[in-house]
Amino acid sequence: MNIVVCLKQVPGTTKVKIDPQTNTLIRQGIENIVNPFDTYALEEGVRIRERCGGKVTAISMGPPQAEEVLREAIALGADEAILLSDSDFAGADTLATSYTLARAIDRLERSDIIICGRQTIDGDTGQVGPELAEMLRIPFVAYVSKIEEIDNGSMRLQRMVEEGHEVIETSLPAVITVVKEINIPRLPSLRGLAKSKSAMIPVWTAQALGVEKKMVGLSGSATRVIKVFFPQRFRQGEILQGELESQVESLVNKLRDAKIT
């Protein structure tokens, strides 16, 4: 079973500041981590390998320092890792990202399962998984919370929907995105850490992937971020005066007017 896990390096905080000039995240002084949802994807990939054999390849697209998340992936059980890094990839939206990932996956030997986290904590779109499946022209299942059965040609999954769970059977290869309910990720092992320190992590550039410049990075993106801002919040308090009964009555009226009752 060849398993591919896509990981992204993200700022390790939810209190990111945005540069008002460039509309990009200010990354200085913020520790980078593996996107938390991707850690569940990796854990599930490693568990499938432990159950069925095969190998887990971790892929990340990002600047050179994104190599750190791939080293961590190896410490956590990935067999191999590939970094997609090129200045041409910079500024990619989800479309250009999934295109680049798809072309990289094309270059691997047949992949049976491709696993992504449900979304990242920085972009929060949840689009790369489904777009990737579309680019690869294979089935896609989102919000997977359990892999019930898996064999050479197919797998049966549970996925979370608002009212409960759906059980879905799909042929392989397929792309899935996973939710945090699917497992409890393990901590690294000492052997894994030793291996991750010395592991060779190849860097694939646009040229290595054989992709056209206009399809990747900012030029391959269908969307542009024009402005990023925090919504302003207004809060206004009011203290009701007078007799208790009139206060209650006035409160009830206010709630009615606000259509809360």
Binding site: R186, L187, P188, S189, L190, R191, G192, L193
Partner: protein, 391 residues
């Protein structure tokens, strides 16, 4: 509170990696369950599996048996970090190392090949069984016998207070093969859980380290094959004394970790507890207590590391040094945890805070693996012996 290294202990990259991963396991996996396990007295199997998955049981096993080739210092680093969060869970790990020492030091190549890989992977826990109802500090008073019969040895007797009892798969058991020869008549056997005639007695209800299992081992005509004897017949006590010399720095490390955890908790609490309009850490009475705690913890750590390195240097005799590390560190842990409860005041006496548990956990460290009294005897004996030899 992130502790910046204030003393240079010259740890290698590998040792630093072991220490920091052990800390991560302690904080992410043990911290959320320690109070619950202390209350329920439930054996921490989930944590043992986490430790196994992270290769922590490989740390003290040579590479040729699927280990990582570390020694006493590496083991101490893991025990220290686990004990900083829960000494009770740490001892279940440490006891498995103790149960392996005889095998590592005196086992035959065949015995090592058979047992060590499963110990290294964490698939099997081990336990060491010496103590009996009549034999505590006076270890040579054991009554369990192993009589030669039918190409094997038949073991009879009851072992008491055995850490990991009932949970471990592999037991190294000290028994008398020649009662009349006294201290020269003991041997050590490997007995596997499930062996016919081997059962478990009562599980003890303890004051502290309650997540660990402490149980009786009962042998009733338990036949073990000849190849399960470790080392030579009659060498049981000598091997036992040597193995305890090796394991005592680990007990010292448990004390250091526990004391470090108590110190950190006390500093945190003293900073936020307001009395007379000020955080209590601004009062000199509290400051001096904290300062003394910090001095003692660091001194204990230095001694434990130094002795662990001595053990790893393959020095021949370190009975005295190893006893010093255990005695000093455990006395420090008792004082530091007691003072930490004092700093917490009434809150510290309540089970809502982790500090009373630390004080309960500390007491046993002054008692097991040689009481601090019997170990002081051993240190004094060495002092007298050396002086006498010079004369």
């Amino acid at each position: 509170m992130e502790r910046k290294v204030i003393l240079e202990y010259f740890l290698s990259e590998q040792q630093k990696m072991i220490k920091s991963l052990a800390r991560r396991i302690a904080e992410e996996k043990i911290l959320p369950v320690r109070a619950e396990l202390d209350e329920s007295e439930e054996f921490p199997w989930t944590i043992m599996n986490d430790l196994a998955d992270s290769d922590m049981f490989r740390v003290f096993i040579p590479e040729e048996y699927d280990g990582l080739g570390g020694g006493c210092l590496e083991l101490c680093l893991v025990i220290e970090e686990l004990s900083r969060v829960c000494a009770g869970i740490a001892i279940s790990y440490a006891a498995s190392a103790l149960g392996s020492v005889t095998l590592l030091e005196y086992g035959s190549e065949e015995q090592k090949r058979k047992y060590l890989p499963d110990i290294a992977s964490g698939k099997k826990l081990t336990a060491f069984a010496l103590t009996e109802a009549t034999a505590g500090s006076d270890a040579s008073a054991i009554k369990t016998t192993a009589n030669r019969e039918n190409g094997g040895y038949v073991i009879n007797g009851t072992k008491q207070f055995i850490t990991n009892g009932g949970e471990a798969e592999i037991y190294t058991v000290v028994a008398l093969t020649a009662k009349e020869r006294g201290a020269r008549g003991a041997s050590i056997f490997l007995v596997e859980k499930g062996a016919s005639g081997f059962s478990f007695g009562k599980k003890e209800k303890k004051m502290g380290i309650r997540a660990s299992s402490t149980r009786e081992l009962i042998f009733r005509n338990c036949l073990v094959p000849e190849e399960n004897m470790i080392g030579r017949e009659g060498m049981g006590f000598i091997m036992t004394m040597k193995l305890l010399d090796r394991s005592r720095p680990g007990v010292g490390a448990q004390a250091v970790g526990l004391a470090q955890g108590a110190l950190e908790a006390a500093v945190d609490y003293a900073r936020q507890r307001i009395q007379f309009g000020h955080p209590i850490i601004s009062f000199q009475a509290v400051q001096h207590m904290l300062a003394n705690m910090a001095i003692e913890v660091e001194a204990a750590r230095s001694l434990v590391y130094a002795v662990a390195r001595t053990v790893d240097s393959r020095a021949r005799n370190f009975t005295e040094e190893s006893a010093m590390a255990k005695v000093f560190a455990s006395d420090v842990a008792m004082r530091v945890t007691t003072d930490a409860v004092q700093i917490f005041g009434g809150a510290g006496y309540m089970r809502d805070y982790p500090i009373e548990k630390m004080m309960r956990d500390a007491k046993i460290i002054q008692i097991y693996e040689g009481t601090n009294q019997v170990l002081r005897d051993a240190i004094a004996f060495e002092l007298r012996k050396r002086k006498a030899m010079r004369e």
